[in-house]
Symmetry: C2
Subunit: 126 residues, 2 copies
């Protein structure tokens, strides 16, 4: 019999575990969310800062992604009393609880990247 993957003593296909994973994926989906979170980790940013730093994103997508991140409590939005008005975005404490996931994804992705490279170079040696 094939061995199974267990998470907290439950097999991974336990429906509640799969649902939980889907919930997490839903919050991080879209083309830009992780890049935005990464950008904000470097410090609080205003809308235009983000648009400049997140290469390629348009105002519409930036606005939409920020709204979703805010609704989910991962990013905060603060209107500053400046002239003209500026808006500051920041990672929340809750957003920082994503760190373990991001760490594991970064680790795995780097490992995967070097594995892919190796198989391109050495897959058919000689």
């Amino acid at each position: 019999m094939k061995k199974k993957i267990f998470i907290d003593n439950k097999p991974l296909n336990c429906p509640s575990q799969l649902k939980a994973i889907h919930d997490t994926m839903d919050l991080l989906n879209g083309k830009w969310k992780i890049t935005i979170i990464g950008c904000l980790n470097f410090g609080n940013k205003r809308f235009m800062d983000l648009q400049r730093e997140v290469t390629g994103i348009g105002a519409k997508m930036l606005s939409k992604e920020l709204q979703e991140l805010e609704i989910n409590g991962l990013v905060s939005r603060t209107v500053l009393n400046t002239k003209p008005v500026t808006v500051e975005y920041a990672i929340t404490a809750y957003g920082e609880t994503l760190r373990p996931i991001l760490r594991e994804m970064a680790n795995w992705g780097q490992h995967h990247r070097s594995k892919v490279k190796a198989s391109l170079n050495g897959g058919k040696p000689g």
Copy 2:
């Protein structure tokens, strides 16, 4: 100055870290991949088994998702010498290295779910 999230001594927005996270997300994207992986963790499965167990998936999507998982080395495909021909899908050893990510995502998702529930019930108490 706002504190930053660090992963292995690098700030999360380090481009290579973000790229690695994107790589990982790309492999797990789509509506069904995680469910398929979860299903296969319960044991090897044939095409029709998967179509029965992954509720709601159609043959086209199942085929496509399995191909992508196979290309990325997460799932193996074995044609068995039966009549009629059957095909067995299984998680690879490499696919099992996703476990830490899946564990963190399951943990976070469950925490998130209970937090959302709590805020629905107790957000405005009394």
